[in-house]
Amino acid sequence: MTNVTTPPTEGRPVPLLDAAGRPYWEATLRGELLVQECPGCGHRQFYPRQICVECGDTPGWLTTEGRGTVHTFSVVRQQGAYPFNQWTPYAVAVVELDEGPRIMGNVIGCEVDEVRIGMRVEVEFVPLNEEASLPFWRPAAT
């Protein structure tokens, strides 16, 4: 089975930057993957919100190492919607970052049938537009 190695971004849904997520997307342009960390209770979370889901405080930001482990995934083999219908089969994973929070993304750079739960992955940003790059995930050695 094939898989995308240099993932195209043409046609992908584009994030509409909002108050909660703007710092996250801006960081992607610098090649940094941010999660939120609460100054009050230390809880870490992703996706970005204006509230800590644990204690209700206002979260701050933490720059991650951009590395994690595939927690679960699927390989999408049937997809009617453009542009994804051009790219099947492709792997969609939930990656558990080393810093704790989980993030969804495509695993690239390997055959889809090689994707496994527990697989180590690292982030690779691919430019989307002037406001955001998209984080993809490649197999990592450690």
Binding site: F84, V92, M104
Partner: protein, 389 residues
């Protein structure tokens, strides 16, 4: 003193699985007419109204539906959390009736999903390349599908517990066997485990026959007091417990991909009923996908966590087994117009009335319906009894 115990006094199905002569509003209307006729109640008896279309732009939105039906409720509920909305409606109707806020509640649903589109609704952005606001901007760029979301739960369950595709397939096979007894079911041709695991992969590890059908359909349930039901047309079916819970909404936020909020809604519903899983004679579980029903079997306590696969493969879920499931054929083979929760309640009621025909579970006295809304997100559990608790 009047007995205010809430009971189901009327049920009605519109036409399914394919009804090109009906639009979504028409399904609501026909199901309502049939539920009223079934119960012997008049439309003017309805003083509580519940409907799950929360989108004001849709012609069947809750407020408009009440207006179309000519119902001016004194108790109104538009709770919309996807497929389990109707189990939540029962929870709310029960509480409202017990509190004396209304006497007779109509819960109604209808959809022309098949006629309109012929496909299941997608997941993420509806218009790729356009801007996505809010939470979906963290999922939509990756092209996950509705099936892919449930597949993530199945994948994790297989990883942690060794669950196999063959075990999941046993759920689809049980539903198909029951669909063979339902003349209206969308697919009735017998299905084997081999057929399921050899069907094409849609989103690993879910195959085509692990996925529900796409139908038209509608249903209505009328809830009233035991007192009011006394002189009505049908034997009342008692609402012994009704509870809901949510763990997350979007699939990327599911805290544990092998456990759903049905653990909590089930525990609460059983506590209200004063019953245990051993007391249940038949279950109607939301089988949007085989994994959905498997997780519920575990979460509701019918088997231990991780043992849903062997439990399903044992044949327990088929008529004649210890826990016949989805006796109308379920979403996997009979009918799934987008939100299935109402049909679970209707089939459970038919079983307890002894009106399930060839699919009747002999001596059924307690039935459980469990709906799932969103992406294994919002769970609603309703326990029904032939007799009062």
């Amino acid at each position: 003193m009047a007995d205010r115990t809430p009971v189901i006094a009327g049920i009605g199905l519109s036409d399914y699985p394919k009804a090109p002569h009906l639009d979504a509003v028409g399904h609501h209307v026909l199901a309502t007419q049939r539920a009223l006729a079934d119960s012997g109640l008049r439309k003017s008896d309805i003083d509580g109204f519940m409907c799950a279309q929360g989108d004001f732009a849709q012609p069947d939105n809750a407020g408009t539906m009440a207006e179309i039906l000519g119902i001016n409720p004194r108790y109104f509920d538009g709770t919309a959390v996807g497929g389990s909305s109707f189990e939540l409606h029962v929870q709310h109707a029960k509480a409202a009736i017990e509190a004396g806020l209304c006497e007779t509640v109509l819960i109604v649903y209808g959809s022309d999903l098949y006629t309109k589109s012929g496909t299941n609704p997608g997941f993420g952005a509806k218009k790729p390349g356009e801007q996505v606001a809010g939470v979906l901007q963290y999922e939509a760029p990756w092209g996950n599908t509705l099936i892919g979301a449930y597949a993530m739960a199945a994948q994790r369950h297989m990883h942690e517990y060794g669950t196999t595709s063959e075990q999941l397939a046993a759920i689809a096979v049980a539903c198909r066997t029951h669909a063979g007894l339902n003349p209206n079911a969308q697919y009735r041709k017998p299905l084997t485990v081999e057929d399921v695991v050899n069907s094409r992969m849609i989103a690993d590890p879910l195959h085509l026959f692990d996925c529900c059908v796409v139908s038209d359909g509608g249903g209505a349930v009328i809830v009233t007091t035991a007192e009011r039901a006394r002189d009505l047309r049908q034997p009342p079916v008692h609402i012994l417990g009704a509870a809901s819970a949510q763990t997350h909404w979007n699939i990327s936020q599911m805290p544990d991909y092998t456990r759903t909020a049905a653990e909590r809604s089930g525990k609460e519903a059983f506590a209200q009923a004063g019953l245990t899983p051993d007391d249940v004679d038949t279950v109607q579980l939301y089988d949007s996908f085989t994994i959905t029903a498997l997780l519920m079997l575990e979460d509701l306590g019918f088997c231990k966590k991780g043992e849903g696969g062997p439990f399903a493969a044992s044949g327990a879920l088929q008529l004649g087994g210890s826990l016949p499931m989805n006796t109308d054929g379920g979403a996997l083979s009979s009918c799934h117009p987008g939100m299935r929760g109402i049909f679970l309640l209707i089939e459970a009621t038919r079983q307890l009335r002894g009106q399930a025909g060839d699919a009747q579970v002999a001596g059924a006295e307690v039935a459980l319906a469990c709906g799932s809304g969103g992406w294994l997100s919002a769970m609603g559990t309703v326990i029904l009894g032939k007799d009062k608790a």
